[in-house]
Amino acid sequence: MPDLFRVLTTGANSLAAQTAAAATAAHNLQNVNTAGYARQRVNLETTLPAEVVGDAFVGRGALLGTVSQARDRFLEAQLPAAFGNAAGSSAAAGVLASVEVLDPEARGGISHALAGFYAALTQLSQNPSDPGLRQAAIGAARTLALSFHQTRASLEDARAGVDRRVAADVDEANGLAAHVASLNEQIRAARAGGGGEPNDLLDARQKAVDRLAELTGAIPVPTSEGDVSLFLAGGAALVTSTQAGRLTALPDPAQGGHVGLQLTSGGITTALTPGGELGGLLSASNGALRAAVDGLDALAWDLAAAVNSVHQAGVDLDGNAGLALFTLGSATGPVTAAREIAVNEALLADPDRLATRGVTGGVAGGAGDASNVLALLRTSSTLDPAARLSRITSDFGTAARSADAMADADAGLKQHLVTLRASASGVSTDEELIELQKAQKAYEAIARVITVTNQMFDTLLQIK
């Protein structure tokens, strides 16, 4: 037969269960803005076994069963790749959009310098003995050389900026990888303690895994022990259960000294082509930016070769054989030519050394002979540097536009999945307020039960 003490005891247990429900709702509300947090729900259970009274089962109230997270595992399995792709394309698009040196409307850019060089030669061809025009032509050649330097330097600066971001990302990724390995260990320990699911540790791991997916494109793979291992493109393991690998950013000679990545995992070091933000950064640097640098170098090399070949066939104002108009410093091939190109010091010092006169039948023309200037002008059609510059610009633009389109598409997919996850796991203040109300009402009712039971005690004790 149930007694009043049992009613008081079950009432106290039920009050505790409702308090847990209120606390969970409060916890949810307090984490409403916490990134990676998945709302939690208490699962109240009827206290078993019920008490048998006569032929009937009399219930013994409620108690706290479990506190579980609201997660959609199918959805969350798609998120790491979406995070990695979105971060990668966004990083690449951001890097390429920040490069302004190839903007077609930018004043003082290389296209203006190239046009200025040929315009100065055109002016010079009309009166090659004019000292002002000779000085202007030398000045235009110098401006062109400087413009090659500046354009290449701007592109290289962008690549150096990528190197710095890669180094910072690598530091963050290494910290996160170690954190995930550590959390795997803590989660194992918590589960072994039999205290149910360590939801907040799971949230922290999920948050670290999400960020690692963004940084490196790492894909999480759950293990049978409940750990999460992380694998990079090509199957390299960044985290294996409780062991974290280590990424290193090192200068890569194949990329002109710009950084490349290595992964050391399980004592083995391998070169790495990552995904995610790191992949996007390296793809922009080693792709479109490098192509633009290489294109400029090749253009500078070919232009110098073509112009020098013609210039050296001519004769200067004093009857000397033409010198090389452009020097290329230490460059022995196209590589770094845009950085090394300069106007010959002898011509800078004495514009009379500009070889404007042609040689016909072994006899040089007079001071007003512009046949070698006209030959120099012909390089604008034989080499067509404007078309090559145009190609460099449009190729770069195509890469930037493609990266931008990819970034939009990837961001759209990521946002869609994030919205679905927020729908499944996010906290709703309305819901939590209702949960709080539910817990409060139940708590009040149970408290009333205790009050009534107490009154019943009093009644019983007053029997004489």
């Binding site: 409403v32 803005n33 709302r39 959009a97 302004e100 190839l102 903007d103 077609p104 409307e105 296209s111 203006h112 046009a115 200025g116 040929y118 315009a119 100065a120 055109t122 002016q123 061809s125 009309q126 009166n127 003995s129 004019d130 023309g365 007079g366 001071a367 007003g368 002979d369 512009a370 006209l374 002008l377 012909r378 604008s380 059609s381 404007a386 510059l389 145009s390 190609r391 610009t393 449009s394 190729d395 770069f396 633009g397 890469a399 930037a400 536009r401 990266a403 946002q415 994030v418 919205t419 927020a422 729908s423 499944a424 796991s425 996010g426 906290v427 709703s428 203040t429 309305d430 307020l433």
Partner: protein
Amino acid sequence: MRVSDQMIFDRAMVDGGAARTRLDEATARASTGVRVVHPGDDPAAAGLVTAERVRMQRLEAIASAAGRASDELAAADGALSNVANALARASELAVQLGSEPYSAAERAAGAKEVQGLLASILSELNVKVGNRYVFGGTSDGSAPFDGLVLDAAGNVDAAATGVYRGDANVRKVEIAPGVYQDASVRADVALRGAGGPPAADVIATLAELANALAANDRAGAAATLGRLDRSITQLSTARGQAGAIMNALDTAVAANDAARDDAEKRIATLADADVIQAASELALAQHALEAALTATAQSFKLSLLGKL
């Protein structure tokens, strides 16, 4: 679909941010009038704009150089015109003083005038534009013709007078990318028939006229008339050549100006924003942002928080 607070705020951030980005882009297009700022805005157009800008600047330079060449030819034509006038006067003197009524003194005075005309012609032919002599071929630095030289008797030294010091080259100027045009006339051909068909030697003829008049040689003076006429014709031919070249250069200047304008229009078509479209996009973007902000504010208001 279940709606969490994160979704509401994310939507506000993402949609509001996107609307603000579109407004910023539309404002930039409307205020600058430029559609292609970065190569990524329109890669093909950016490449073409780059090439067109190079071409445009080249066309400007060609027009400028052709214009200056035309100015030089105008100076050359002016000098040849003065030479032709002097030859006409010499011809008048030859007709006049080759006749009976004139005395030796009058012919001697005529000889002095012809010597003056010769000196004047040689001075005209040594005309400079800027730093260079226009009749010296490509020898810019020194006067193309020696001056008047008299012998001890005061007669014109025909061998030493007006010796041509220039070369036989003709200057060329670019009138379109890769297209070149002669930009000078050969004064040695115009005056002495050098390198051309058999013609009169203007300077030798004038020297002969002056010396004949000084010697009171009426027949000798009259004998120069035919060559003086041919000299005038020869000068006219040279002036005609100069005029033809000037026409070609002026046409080239106009053609390059037109081509430059075309290139500028093409750049505008490729890179510039359509004003009406830009204004329309700006208005649309403003409305879109306003709607996004209003919707966001409304969604924030709807909560149990204020009602419990």
